[in-house]
Symmetry: C3
Subunit: 270 residues, 3 copies
């Protein structure tokens, strides 16, 4: 069931049971698996894969009053790999090379950059900024007003909160700077700022800012050392800043961080 | 595919792919989105919205023995807004003005009052009582035998447990009194009673009762102060008891708590 | 839509909207509910139930490059009860009498024994070994390289991790020995070994091995006593080792652990 206003490119696969709404644009080489619901005003860029039963352009609250779908565009960048049963709202923008696990929810007002991965069951509550080259693992909850800069890692069951005195109308989002790592199951309290290369240990409850290159652990979280003291368990080499030891999926994958970074500077192309 | 014994009211929308079983009652002005499964003996009251691919009247354990669906009614109150892919079992009752996020599970024996909201991915394990005007946020787990009174707030990733010596056949549910707040990621241990206006801080592991108007934090949770000491970060005014500072979605939304409450007393209608 | 190469046994029920791929084998007395996607090379053994909209034989990463499904078999043992909306990948093996809740994800490389139960929303990340008679409750995250021996209990929101210095290429899985109990919301750090009858308290963050019959609690977890000191809240009898006090679903259900175990030894059949 494809609405006549939809614009379809070349070499598109659409499996049985998919519904495509008004003013949808699907570019070349897109593959849409069984039973997806693509609501109105969704734009899927080229070579993207949409997993079975995903719902794109999901209704915002204003739909439910009169059952009329207002214009809330969703853009999915090129070369996305969206696994099954994602729900992605209208009024959201997702960059190129996006990957998601199963059953991810992304709400309106989410601005997501390029080369972002979001794991199974994660819940992006919207009205947030997520930069580039970010790895968000399974079952992570990103509260509204969060700001996540490039090259951040967030591991399973982390929650970024936003209301300092719940319930209230105040919303103080969490800010995470580049190269920071938020380990499994930690909770970041409203308004906390985690600075560059900060490391939040597993299960930490973080109620104050985390300085640059600092490790915090515990409930409440306390500073314990510099990230530079942590060694890789196998090589014995310093593990952090991780950009010098890890390159899979990063823009410096083909060389190393220093060469890539200096190349950028020398050539002036960033 | 609508079973001939189903009773449908006026002005009903049923989108493609929905299946409606035996003895289903759907009242006026209900909207059922794509691909829902409404199993036998479900009653959906007027003006409710059922999100795409929700499953209502889900099978209990007794179905699986002989693949015969026994009579386990489910009632959904008026004006519900159930988002996509909820699974709600038979033998459950949900009041009016219910709202749920995506992919919520509600099992048999759940008694849910009016004006309750339950967020995306939350899992209500059944055999529990949930009162009125309650906000349960995303990914909350409500164990069997829980009892949640009116005007309670429960934030993401909270778990209410019930077995003090797992695995065992003993079940001691958690009790939460009115106006209590359970912040993100806290775990409430079996049999714990949280009294009126109690506040459980984020990430707390609560192994003993929380007295009235008391703040507890930490693992294990310890009492730190009265809720009356906590100020709103923006206004600087006392934030608790929150019924004096927050009214969105509450019955005193049009006035304030004192006026509403005194009005009730004067008129004797509560 | 059933591919002509599929082999179907006797007395099979397949509800509307189900898709069955190439070289699928479905044995006698299997029931497949509405709208399942059974991809290629899935083998479902007799008397199993597959819940609505489950996806079996889900694509591995190699599919997405050329949109050609390689051979990655999935075997589901006899008498499975898989509830709705599970996603189970190819290259996995699940034993007999498996039960799962709703919306469970099981990835490639999962080796799961007999009589295992996995609760709603749990996420088995694959490349892991899960033995027999294991109870994994709701919303549990089992990281790659985990090894879980027979008769283990894992309660809601537990996470088994594997990367000691994230992000890195090192993976040190968690090992859990028989009869151990991992209570709600605990996080087990990479490479930790929990020995027989170990007990991890709710909300613990476990960064070192847990000796046999030892209780650990807190963040970071500390040893507090022997499991033999914990009494059942109702009977007042010692609650652990639990195999002497709990038998539901266990192979000694019809007698008790001692009789069953001694019977095995005497007969030499284990």
């Amino acid at each position: 069931m494809i609405h006549p206003t939809a614009k379809l490119g070349q070499n598109i696969t659409i499996k049985e049971g998919t519904i495509i709404g008004k003013n949808v644009i699907i570019e070349d080489d897109v593959y849409i698996d069984y039973g997806c619901i693509i609501r109105d005003n969704v734009h899927i860029k080229k070579a993207s894969f949409i997993g079975a039963r995903s719902i794109l352009g999901e209704y915002l609250m204003d739909f439910y009053k009169d059952k009329v779908n207002k214009v809330h565009p969703l853009v999915i960048g090129e070369n996305a790999l969206i696994r099954t049963e994602n729900v992605i709202y209208g009024d959201a923008v997702i960059g190129d090379n996006f990957q998601s696990g199963h059953k991810v929810t992304i709400r309106e007002g989410s601005n997501i950059g390029n080369n972002v991965r979001i794991g199974t069951l994660s819940d992006i509550q919207g009205h947030c900024d997520i930069g580039n080259y970010i790895g968000i693992h399974s079952n992570v909850h990103i509260g509204q007003k969060s700001k996540i800069n490039d090259y951040v890692w967030i591991f399973p069951y982390v929650v970024l909160t936003n209301d300092p005195t719940p319930p209230s109308e105040v919303m103080l989002g969490v800010t995470i700077d580049s190269f920071a790592i938020i380990a499994t199951g930690s909770i970041i309290l409203p308004g906390v700022h985690i600075y560059e290369d900060g490391f939040v240990g597993a299960g930490a409850v973080v109620n104050r800012d985390v300085p640059k290159e600092t490790v915090v652990v515990g409930n409440p979280a306390k500073e314990i050392c510099s990230v530079r003291k942590i060694k890789n368990k196998v090589t014995g080499e310093p593990a952090y800043p991780w950009r010098h030891t890890f390159k899979r999926g990063m823009p410096w994958e083909e060389s190393d961080y220093e060469i890539w970074y200096n190349g950028l500077n020398v050539k002036g192309d960033e």
